[in-house]
């Protein structure tokens, strides 16, 4: 779908990772009377999708994806500020991180960036994350989903710890869905840990997250 030329300045700034420029362009659009929801649906969403597709084709790289997502966050804050009554559409809220003992971060960062490009609000906790910190953050931001990454057999038990903490808590059990991924993760790991789902790669991760969100 072609994006209306009136959004071209905003789109260029998202593509270039220029947050200030993106915010200025969004303000300009609001001042000329454009509906904030149209800005989200007709400019931001298709633009992020295009960047995600280019990443899949390796025409742009991880930093461009991460920066584009940052610009969008800044723009959405402006939209929210101006129209607090309007809930800016988000596909869902995800807390993601690499579990304790593990410092592999590239795959997790790719998944985080691709989820953002697909309209999810992502809170990336980094690497070597203590099991309790996942829960703390998920409660704080009222997440829908917790994503756990691990590339090492020696850290997979920490995935199980996070999952157990959620399943054992009456408050959290029905609130947070849990999805896992990383090199050694498979269907078997899902059984072993009690996760709600898993993803083999970034595209898979989006499908799995979507399916879990839909399942309520």
């Amino acid at each position: 779908m072609a994006i209306d030329p009136k959004y071209s300045e905003l789109v260029t700034n998202i593509e270039n990772g220029d947050e200030d420029g993106g915010i200025e362009a969004a303000k300009g659009l609001l001042e000329s009377g454009v509906d904030p929801l149209d800005i989200v649906q007709d400019a931001i969403m298709p633009c992020l999708k295009e960047i995600g597709d280019r990443f899949a084709r390796m025409e742009v790289f991880l930093p461009e994806m991460m920066l584009a997502a940052d610009v969008v966050k800044g723009v959405q804050d402006v939209l929210r500020e101006r129209f607090s009554a309007i809930e800016v559409a988000s596909e869902g809220r995800v807390v993601i991180g690499t579990v304790f003992g593990d410092i592999h971060d590239i795959g997790k960062n790719i998944v985080a960036a691709v989820l953002e490009a697909n309209g999810y609000e992502v809170h990336n906790l980094g690497v070597n994350v203590d099991p309790k910190d996942f829960i703390k953050k998920a409660r704080e931001v009222d997440a829908d989903l917790i994503g756990l990454s691990s590339l090492m057999t020696t850290s997979i038990p920490y995935m199980r710890d996070v999952i157990d903490l959620v399943k054992e808590s009456e408050v959290d059990r029905d609130r947070f869905k849990l999805i896992i991924g990383g090199g050694p993760v498979s269907e078997e790991t899902v059984e072993l840990t009690g996760a709600d789902g898993w993803g083999e790669n970034a595209a898979d991760a989006v499908d799995a997250v979507r399916a879990l969100m839909e399942s309520g």
């Binding site: 790289f61 590239i106 795959g107 690497v127 050694p184």
Partner: protein, 462 residues
């Protein structure tokens, strides 16, 4: 006083260096600096996937100059304090000059001499097998005895243990500390039983954090300081306290260190050319900041989860050539295959990728990474033998000849890099009674080896 930068002073920069968030480092500093340098040195678009082994030495030197500039502009990012450890040109030059160009690993008649190499250097690139693939405790001893027994394998690295005495090895717990020490005993026993007690070891692949290593390296009854301590740190150019504990321990006990961090094509440095610059910069910086004896120069491709594809082979050839021609550092091309044991494709992936590292000037290669290193027990001694044979045989070849060889090897596996056949685990690819490869696997090895000989790799016929 040794004539090299004071490591203690450099370590204090993790607290005093310029503040920079990790996000800023990952998404702005690294990509921005590399993008500008690519432009300034006119290197964007240099990658030639039709010729996976670069033969233009002027291009290699241009990349070296670009990587050198990137090292001085960037430094390492300490992820614990979010501060940048920058180094001066004087420090970098001094440290690179002070790095050794030779190192004896192990002891006695089975020790291995590592040497700094240039492209097509006749001195062979040495090998350390395997690459931390998870191995069950049950099979670990037999598998490693068999690998140590392979005469062409130079150093014993090894599989990562998932349990110790039946208990899950959980990262950062006392079980890891326990495992670190006990793993050293198992490792020594494998080498002793194979008749190579002085064979050098890489320490300690199972140690996911500093605990597993501090408990075994230089400890009484643990690994010897004649073994090579492994220090891996996060790309791109990031370092953390966990890793620095290992570094300081190696210096404290007067041991030898191999440090590595792969530059990621498709990650923060972007295209293959950006990853070459990042890889050279990272190597120069690690010799200044961590001061290992060996390591550096790896390139990995996040798009193929390997480095056996054309762009990654090209990038790997360039980073080795650039460092080999312009420094006497002892570099480490770590080649990551994707197919599994028992498949012909695995051997072709090994042949192409290891030949590239060897001819381009790598000093030591660790591998193989059968089945991408993803599956427990998916590694056998036979591919360790093949990797080492290729490494030794391809070392003195002409760059042009290896380029032709790789072009002939690629069609054997290129179409399935993204969906590889993961093959068989050790216990199925080997007969555990005779400790020999099953006949099918043996036959595949003979077939691919013969074809490699026909294609000009001077392997000893079997």
């Amino acid at each position: 006083m040794e004539n090299k930068p004071d490591i203690l002073e450099i370590l204090t920069r993790t607290q005093t260096g310029e503040y920079c968030t990790q996000k800023e480092w990952d998404t702005k500093r690294i990509p921005g600096t590399i993008r500008n340098i690519l432009k300034e040195h006119d290197l964007a678009g240099a990658c030639d996937p039709d010729n996976p082994v670069n033969t233009d030495m002027e291009l290699a030197d241009k990349f070296y100059a670009a990587g050198y500039q990137a090292a001085l502009e960037l430094g390492f990012h300490c992820t614990d304090t979010e501060r940048i450890i920058s180094v001066t040109q004087g420090e970098l030059d001094l440290a690179v000059e002070a790095a050794p160009s030779e190192l004896l690993v192990g002891e006695g008649q089975h020790a291995t001499l590592l040497k700094s190499r240039t492209p097509s250097d006749p001195y062979p690139m040495k090998t350390a097998c395997t690459l931390g693939i998870a191995v069950s405790e049950e099979y670990w001893p037999a598998m490693h005895y068999l690998i140590a027994r392979e005469p062409e394998v130079d150093l014993l690295n090894g599989g990562s243990l998932i349990t110790i005495r039946g208990k899950e090895v959980l990262s950062s717990t006392p079980i890891e500390t326990f495992m670190g020490y006990e793993h050293a005993q198992m490792h020594k026993e494998a080498r002793r039983k194979a008749g190579r007690p002085g064979m050098g070891a890489i320490v300690s692949i199972s140690a996911v954090t500093e605990y597993g290593m501090l408990s075994s390296y230089g400890a009484k009854g643990g690994y010897s300081t004649k073994d090579l301590a492994l220090v891996l740190f996060p790309s791109e150019m990031k370092i953390d306290y966990r890793t620095l504990h290992k570094v300081v321990q190696v210096h404290n006990v007067g041991g030898a260190m191999k440090a590595d961090s792969p530059a990621m094509i498709g990650g923060m440095p972007g295209p293959p050319e950006g990853a070459v610059i990042s890889s050279i910069a990272c190597a120069l910086l690690q010799y200044t900041i961590l001061q290992p004896q060996t390591g550096g120069g790896e390139v990995y491709d996040v798009r193929t989860l390997s480095n056996v594809n054309r762009e990654a082979l090209w990038a790997q050839s360039l980073s080795m050539q650039a460092l080999g021609r312009n420094t006497h550092l002892m570099t480490h091309p770590c080649m990551n295959q994707v197919s599994g044991p028992g498949t012909e494709k695995l051997l072709w992936e090994i042949a192409a990728s290891v030949a590239v590292g060897a001819v381009a000037g790598g000093t030591l290669s660790t591998g193989p990474r059968s089945a991408g290193g993803k599956l427990t027990d998916h590694i056998t001694p036979l591919e360790c033998r093949f990797m080492s044979e290729i490494s030794h045989a391809a070392s003195g070849m002409a760059l042009e000849d290896v380029n032709e060889f790789v072009k002939a090897a690629l069609p054997h596996y290129e179409d399935t890099i993204k969906e590889p056949d993961l093959g068989l685990p050790f216990q199925k690819a080997y007969n555990l009674d005779t400790l020999e490869p099953i006949p099918e696997w043996q036959a595949i090895y003979h077939k691919v080896k013969d074809e490699c000989i026909d294609l000009g790799v001077p392997l000893n016929p079997w």
